[in-house]
Amino acid sequence: MSATPTDIDELHPLEKEGPRFGIKKPAARYDKQGETPDAERIETAMRSFVRDFGANVSTYMESCIHCGMCAEACHYYVQTEDPKYTPIWKLEPFKQAYKREMSPFAFFYRLFNLKPRVTVEQLEQWQELLYDSCTLCGRCTLICPMGIDIARLVGLARHGMFRAGLVPHELWAAAERAEREGSPLGATPKVFKERIEWLADEHEVEIPLDRERADVVVTMSSIEIMKYPQSIVAIAKILAHLGENWTIRLDGYEATNFGMLSGNADWQKDMTMKIIDAAIRCGAKLVILPECGHAYGALRWQGADMYGGPLPFRVRHVSEYLAENAKNGRLKLNKAGKSVTFHDPCQVSRRGGATQAPREVLAALGVELREMQYGGDLNWCCGGGGGVVTIHRADDLRYKVFELKMKQVDATGAEMLVSSCSNCRLTFDDGQAHFKWDKSMHSLLELVADNLAQ
C-alpha cells in the first residue's frame, strides 16, 4: 500500500529552519532479516550476546563509570561531536540486558524493574551504532580509565544482533556468501584457481596449488584475489626467493572472516576451521596470513580456541613473516630509498601486538620512516574496518572520519604511503577517489617483492 500525503507529511516533514531547506533528516534506518517475531528476536539476541560471557567480559560490564572518556578516542565522535557515537553508549541495550539478566544484583533489577527489558526498537536503533559507526578499532580500549575492552564488547553485541536478524544487509549478504561459496566477494575456489593460473602464466612465477605436503600454507584475502591480485604474485616471488616449500590450498585459502565481522560465531568457526583443516592435511608448520587486519585476529588470536586446543602450526601475519626473515638475513632486499609513512592496521598492530614487524621490514628496505602523529598503537583507523566499508549507508560517515586520516598522513610529508591490510587499502583507494586526494596506498608486501635482491 502506498503512503498517503498525510503519512508522508508525518513521516518525512519539511524542515524549514536552517540553511538547508528540504526534507527533515529521516529517523535512523535499519536492515532486518527474516520474519521472526520481535519478542523472539530480542530473546535470541540476548542469549547469543551472553553465550560467550565469562569472568572477563562480566568484569567489563560491571566496571563502566560513565566518565565519557572513550568518546575522545573514537574517530566518529571526534569528527562529528555527536554523543551517540560514544563507544560505551553503543553497548547501552546490552548493558541494560546484562544488568537485568546476568549481573550479581540481577534479582533487584528485575524485582523493581530498575532496568526494563530491551525492546526490538532499541536494537533496531542501535544497529547503526554497532555496525555503521564502529570499526572495532579498539582505540577506545586504550583510553578507558577502567581498562574496559569496549571493542571486544561490540564484537559480542554483534553476535546478538546477527541472531536477531538485525545486521546491515551488505554485511549479512557478504557473510552468507562466504559461508555458502567460500568467499564473501566471489573469489570461489574455481575463480581463484583460474586467477592463479593466469597470474602464474602472466608473471612467470610458480604458484604451487594444492600440494599434498608443504611446510608453509599461504592464505589470501578476497579483496586481494579480486582487486589486488598482484599481491598473490608478490608473495609467490618472495617465497621463491626464500626457497620455501609452500602451497596455496583450495580447501582453505580464504582468510577474511565475515562470520566474525557480522557476528555469526558458528560461521566464524566454519571459516576458521577450513584453514586449520587444510593446513593440518598438508602437514604445514606455518600458516601465513595475508595483508588483512581482521584475518589476523580471527586466526592468530582466536583460531586455536575455535580448534579447541593449541594449533599444530605457527600462524604469522605476512608482515611478521617478512620481518623474521629480514632479521635472520634470509630475505635480501635492495634499498627502496624513499620517505614512507606507515598506516597501522588496527587489528594487526593495536589489537594484534605486531606493531613493530612492518617497521622492521621498512628498516630493511632502507626507507626513511616518517611516523604519523599518534602513529603505531594509537593510529587513527582508516574507517573501513569491522566490515564498515561494505555498508553503503555508512559512506558519508566513513568519509568524514577518513578526513582525519588524510590529515594525519599529509602532515608527515612522506613520499609514499604504505600499509599491510588490503581492507585498509580498499578504504584508502575509495577515499582517495572520493576526495581526489593525491596520495595512493601501497602494499608493504608488494614493496618488498619489488625490491628483492637478485
Partner: protein
Amino acid sequence: MDLLDFARGPALLWSLVILVLGVAWRLAGVLLQKRRPDYSEPRSTAVAAGAIGTIFRRMWPRKEFQARTAYSTTLSYVFHIGLAIVVFGFVPHILFVRNLTGLSWSGLPSGFIYAAGVVTLVALVAALVRRLTHPVLKLLSNFDDYFSWFVTAAPVVTGLMAVAHFGARYETILAVHILTVELLFVWFPFGKLMHAVLFAVSRGTTGALFARKGAAT
C-alpha cells in the same frame, strides 16, 4: 537512643555489614564465572607484569589523549586526592577508625583539612556541572551516576557543616554526617562506587590479555 547513638551504633554496624557482604557478593558474582582457556600461542608470557603494569599505567591518560581529557582528569584527581586527605588525614576520623579497628596513624593540621574539604567540594560540584552539561556525559548518565555523586558529596558537606558548627546543634549535625557516610557504605556495592575495587580487576584483565598478545595497553 538518640540520633547520634543510632548513627554510631546499629546504623554503623548494619551499613558495614551491607558494605562487606555486598562487595563480596558482587565480586564473587563476577570473578567466579567461567574462564575459558586461551589456546593461542602467546607472544609473551609476562601476563602478570602486563596486568600490574596496566593497573598503574591507566592512572593517567597516554600522552595522545591528554589534551582532550585534561579537564576531566584534573577534576577527578582533585576530588579523589581531596577525599583521601579528608578521610584519612582528619584527626577525628583517625580516632573513629582507631575505636573501630585499633589502627591509628598521625593526622594532618585541621586548617589544611578544612581547605582540602572545600577544594574537594568545589571539584565535586564542577564534576556535577560537567555531567549535567556535557553532551556525552548527559547522554550516558543515569540514576547511579547522580546518586553516587550525592552519597559522595553529602559527607563532605555535612562534615564541613559539623566543623563549622553550622545549621543545627553539633551533635545533630555530627549524627547526620555519620549517617551520610553510612549511606555511602550501603550504596557502595550496588552502584559505580564499586569502581574503587573493580578498577584493579578490570585494568588487570585487559593488561593480562593484551600482554599475552604483545599489544600495548
